[in-house]
Amino acid sequence: MSASESLNFINLTNKVDYLQVLVSQNQTEKVLEFEPHWLRFNCQSDKSREPSTGERTITINNVPKDLKIKCAMIENDELIRIVWNELSNQSDSLIPIEFLLNNSPSLSDIDFNKHYLTSNKIFYFDYNSFFTSQIRNDDKIFDWLKSLAEYGLCIVKNVPTKENMLRNLVEMIAPLHRTIYGEMFDVRIDVNPLNLAFSASPLEFHNDLIYYESPPGIQFLHCLKFDESVVGGETLFVDGFQIAEKFRQQHPKLFDVLTKIPASFQKTHDYQGRKIFIQYSKPHIVVNHRQKIIGVNWAPANEGPLRNCTKEEIKAYYEAYLEFNKLVYDKSNITAIRLNPGEVVCFNNRRFIHSRNGFKQAKGSRHFQGCYLTMEEFKSEVLALEFKVNNRNNEQNDEINQAYDICRLKLWNVNVANNDYY
């Protein structure tokens, strides 16, 4: 999408059955084509979009199957007006040129970019830098969130080791995502653990709460206490995107199986008067219409019996499943972190599968606090901040047509593994 930054409009030609727009990009000329219905439905005038909310108000039933462009012209140097054939009985469509260029479906050909970043090292951010004399420092916060969106894993240092301090950090982004574990949860040894995490056992690699249609987006784990005398207990991460890509290269047929045959996830939970029984089936790897990986679902502890599958499918599934697991446990794919008190590890719970080494605490203890954000709310705030930071000096904030501003933002197309087809 960043290709659109350097697009320059040259001219347009009415081809009746479509609109042809000539643009230049880095001194090369390109031809963009716009289907009539696309133009009609993306009219940005008050007749088509409610001004204050940006919601579309076109009655689809009044839009005919056949649409032809009678004429197309430029108005005020920035708008394109399209007049439709009389028979279609459609009001003129008004589309800002910038909208057209930023949202062209055929822009830069079909997009095969992965839209995420990888790194061998972990990025650190300083909680103290997020405030300058008690006022939020949006630039620093944006740096942190941008990194979290693109790389999916980072650590914030110097978060005071007081209970519930984590809330202060996370609520700078959005309201906490309440789950069956409450708004905040304590990770330490419980006598009757609700979850193996609340014990000293090692944990297998997993995404949290995978049995939900929309598992938590971002997870935060704040190390309150991790005495040196405690042996083990490191937090481990594997980038689901990277191992899924590797798997695709090494075993394309098995990869295909894991995108088609759904796994079964389940949860039975009985706590403080509330009983939960969730069963949910979905493939371990989700791909969009371009075969781009848009989701990874891995949580062996929460698996249930495969359902609704033929004998052949079950056989194929397990062959792929066992092979994929090898990549999960391949040491070269694992990042291990021993968190220090005051550090908060922030990670994309959909993309990074995580686990923990078992630990022994003869004396001393290990205590983390955790919470989640939904992916929508996280990503929304990232974009809101990007917009704020980019437009700080922009006088025309009031004039912004919110319907098309999203494409000026670089981070809107970051792949955060939430099954978004983009």
Partner: protein, 442 residues
Amino acid sequence: MFKKLILNPISKNIFQKKEIFSKLNFPIKTYHNQVKIINIENKRTSLELFVSVDKEEKLLCFDPHWLRFNCQSENSRQIGTGQRIIPIQNVPKILLIDSVKKKDDCIVIKWDVDSNQPDTIIPIEFLINNNPSELVNDDRYIPCKEIKFFEYFELVDSNGNRNETKIFEWLRHMMLYGLTIVKNLPTEKDMIKNLAELISPIQSTIYDQLFDVKVDQNPINIAYSSVGLEFHMDLMYYESAPGIQFLHCLKFDPEIIGGESIFADAFHIAELFRQKYPDLFSTLTKIPATFQKIHIERKRPVYMVYQRPHIALNHRGKIVAVNWAPPFEGPLTNLSPKETKSYYRAYVEFAKFVYSYNKTIVYRLNPGEAACFNNRRILHARNSFIPNNGIRHFQGCYVNIDEFKSEALVKEFQMKYANASKNVNHIKLDLRKTIVGNQDYY
């Protein structure tokens, strides 16, 4: 798995329970009374069980890896949490069954020595109820053609005592049909929370916990005005759009003209569309639409954009979700001209289908009535209205779709098995197979 529940006395007696069941028309067939193993055959690379379940004979076939991973012994499932603890990397690619025997109510499988796997123990009930090769073909929902009414004080009395049987009836109806109206919910502010919380904690969104639907001067949503609203689902730009939507009519003055609520079953519409236009249907399952909410001038600016096809299918080609929200659509991107053309051909035709669907339900909510419907299945719309100085005020909230389904299943379990110590993972619940539109592949 669940501790025994003390329900109200009437359900302690199994015979009385059957009577309650027949009043509510519960099918009793999943209450397996007679399971007989006729023959067990070890085929080394598979296990065959010839059984008779309620006098029906069937041959069940099980893959060795499926058996291994579904072992229910302490070696494989952690007792307290039920989580699976099998180290996958220790399971070999090739698994051969050495021997099988029946022990109490379980099957015990010994694996061949080279595989180095502990014995696998699985209750027979689990095998029968979770047989993977049972392809699910029966009706997974019932088209919604009318409204069923419930009384609030039959669900929970004035002292706050819940009537679990009635609540289950209400949940079950919403699972199968997608739409109910609860009458006589006191028209006090926030009462709707009490109703919703009978199911689960409220799903909080960018519209907060509870939202007011009435005419606003500067509406942040076109719903907060007097214009008509097309058929749509709420918050389609969320990966897990709200599950059950509650709309509690607090005030709807008689002088107001119009403003009726309209409902239509998107599952049924999509099925009919598939029958009439299979190619166009296919297009809508493949080419993603764009849903968005971009609103800066708002207390909390919102930038949400999400792409997904209008219709989602599982690996069996069954419809597992419908996503329809025209007011919240954004520009299609990342498509060739051919795909764009093909999309719009299908889109315009589907929209026509939605408009011409003749089983829509039109209802003017009365104060005290709360419409409760599956926001992932039942399209809702509203006729425009002329206020004439009257007030139309609804209060609304949402419950997450997975939590709604969970509560319905828990209740079914409690209704049927409260006094039998059954493990919820071993038995088969009727409502498990109901499609609720949350993209569950099952």
